[in-house]
Each structure stands twice: as structure tokens, then as C-alpha cells.
């Protein structure tokens, strides 16, 4: 009767335990740790590499990601399939919903899609710049690094929450003017 795959929302503890067990599998079977943000560098490198190969090869950081190694690698396959995994979960749970301007955003910045999409683009750019400086994101540092007790990751996690809490309160707690 109650097939768990049909339940729209799972307990966060069950989800967290599932991700923990998934990391056992990546370490044991694949000798890898969950991560996501490196793939965004590979994607940027591939675009620059197509437009201007010389430029891509001469940039030390991009070259380290795209010269002598495949662009579409284990993590890129993982990241792309995350979209399909979420789609599958949403369809099974009948919880898929198109959302363009989330309510917390609209409360402060209004219902404009253009404003929201511009904000999302800028937020994405800032976030990934920070992730690459720090050496990882919520997956690579937050989950994989945190569970390995990496000092780098725990510094990142504390800084991320501190800045996120501060920024969210500044951004979203006053009503739109």
C-alpha cells in the first residue's frame, strides 16, 4: 500500500543515512568521493576549449582539468544524472512542480522572473567562485570532506553556514520596497 518510492517527502534522517551509505559505495567500489563543483570547471573548460583552444590550454587552472584527461568523466556523469534522479523521484512521488520565482524570494524582490533569473545567475557565479577557491562545495567538502573529518572541509562548512545565515537574513527578512 504505502510504497516508499511513492511518498513525496522522506524523513531527512533517512535521506542523510542514504547519502552516507552511498558514500560507502563510492569509496569501496570506485575509490571516489561524492562531489559536484569540479564538473562546472570541466564544463567551462570545454566551452573555452571549443571557442579558443589556445586560450584554454594556456590557462593553468583550466588546463589542469581538460588537458590529458576526459572532460566528461565520472563526476560529470554523476552530476548530469542527478537531474534525472530527481525527476524520477518527483514523478514517482507526484511532487514535481514548476517553480520560477520561489515565495521567499518573491517576498523580498517581487514576482519578476527576470530579476529572479538574474539573481540566480549571479548567485551561481559567486557560489562557484567560492567553491573553487575553497576546493569543494556542499558535496565535496560538506558531505565527503565532512565525513572524512578533513580540516579543510570543517573550516569550509563553518564559514559557509556563517555567511549563508548572515546573507539570507540581510537579503530576505525585509519586505519588498
Amino acid at each position: 500500500m504505502s510504497n516508499p518510492l511513492r511518498i513525496p517527502r522522506w524523513s531527512p534522517y533517512a535521506v542523510g543515512a542514504g547519502i552516507g551509505v552511498l558514500s560507502w559505495a563510492t569509496f569501496y567500489f570506485m575509490d571516489k568521493a561524492l562531489g559536484a563543483s569540479t564538473s562546472m570547471v570541466n564544463a567551462a573548460g570545454a566551452i573555452v576549449g571549443v571557442v579558443s583552444p589556445e586560450h584554454a590550454k594556456s590557462n593553468e587552472y583550466l588546463a589542469a582539468h581538460i588537458v590529458g584527461k576526459p572532460v566528461f568523466d565520472w563526476q560529470m556523469a554523476l552530476v548530469v544524472m542527478m537531474g534525472f534522479g530527481a525527476l524520477l523521484a518527483a514523478v514517482l512521488g507526484r511532487s514535481r512542480r514548476v517553480e520560477r520565482v520561489p515565495s521567499i524570494w518573491a517576498f523580498r524582490f517581487g514576482p519578476s522572473r527576470a530579476v529572479r533569473y538574474t539573481g540566480a545567475f549571479i548567485g551561481g557565479a559567486v557560489l562557484l567562485f567560492g567553491a573553487r577557491m575553497a576546493g569543494g562545495c556542499t558535496s565535496g567538502h560538506g558531505i565527503s570532506g565532512g565525513l572524512q573529518l578533513a580540516l579543510s572541509s570543517w573550516v569550509f562548512i563553518v564559514a559557509m553556514f556563517a555567511a549563508g545565515i548572515g546573507a539570507a537574513h540581510l537579503l530576505y527578512t525585509r519586505k519588498a520596497v
Partner: protein, 203 residues
Amino acid sequence: MFDTPFFAPTSILLQGAVVGLIFGFLLQKGGVTRFNTIVGQFLLRDHTVLKIMLTAMIVGGAGVYAMLQLGAIEALHVKSAQLLANGLGGLIFGVGMATLGYCPGSAVAAIGDGSRDAIPGVLGMVFGAGVYAAAFPWIKAHILPVGDMGKVTLSTTTGLSPWWFVIGLAVLGAAGFYMLERWESRGASGGSRPAGGGVARTA
């Protein structure tokens, strides 16, 4: 891409694909493919993100350190501690994540879940990666070397067994979550909580 094929071997891609499918599935079931859940965490209204992350770390850490001790795996994948870069990068990341409302993995999952604003978010990420690459020479010279301690963990830095930290996290987490659940079920604090927040485990 240069000097190699564009794609990694199929077996490697299949492994990544299976992991990604499960990871994305779990994130959607956890509700972190929604802006309001992520920003709700930073606004301290909805603690889903914290519950998922900390549980994943406790369960994952116990298994990975047990496998390491039993010789089932040979090595960890610890990233270098470069304290200024980790801290400053984390601060920048937090500001960006509060603005975007997704992190890199959950943004891609959010696209699958119908959150259209995650699409410009991911495009912004690719742009941000390019900007970082352009700034890399300066960052490498001025930021990365500050507080560079190599691939250390809380265990190797302090000389304590990793189990102190794993068990400590589990105990702290269990006690913290117990109190949090009691507080959440008692309060629900007058509708300040965004729709869809909180723990829904019934059906």
C-alpha cells in the same frame, strides 16, 4: 579533451551515472531541490539541510573509517587544508548559496524537479568557474599558500583517534536532533515556517 578522448571509459561513466541517479533521487525526496528549503535553513526556519548533512556525515564517516581500518579501502580522499582559501571560499560560497538557493549538486537536481530558476543558476556556475580560472594566477600566489597544512584531518591534526570525532558527532547529533524535533513539534511558531518545510514523513 586535449590529448585524450572527450569521454571517460563507459564503465566509469556508468558508475558515475548510477551514483548520480541515486544521489539526485535522495535529494529530491529530502526536499533540498527547493529554494525555500535551502534558504529556510539559512533563515533558521527549516533545519532539513542540517539534518541531512549531519546524518550523512555520521553514517558515511562511520562506514568509511571502519572500511579504512579493516583494510577494505586503501586511502581517504581528503582535500588540502589551505585555511585562508577554505575559509574565504566558504564565506563567498555561503553568500552565493543564499542568493541562488541551491548548491551545485542540488541545483542540477532542482532542474529535474521543475525549479526553473536553477537553470540560470547552473549557467552562472559555469561562468563563475571561468572567472575563477582567469583569477587563478593571483589566487595561487596570494590566497592558497596562507595556512597551507596539506591533506590533514581533525584526527591527524590532534593526534586523537578518528572515532572520537565520529562518535562525538553521532552523540551531539542525536542529542541535538532530539531537542530540535521536540522544539519543532511543540512550536511550529505561528506560521513563520515556509510551506513544505518541516518533517513530513507520513503518507
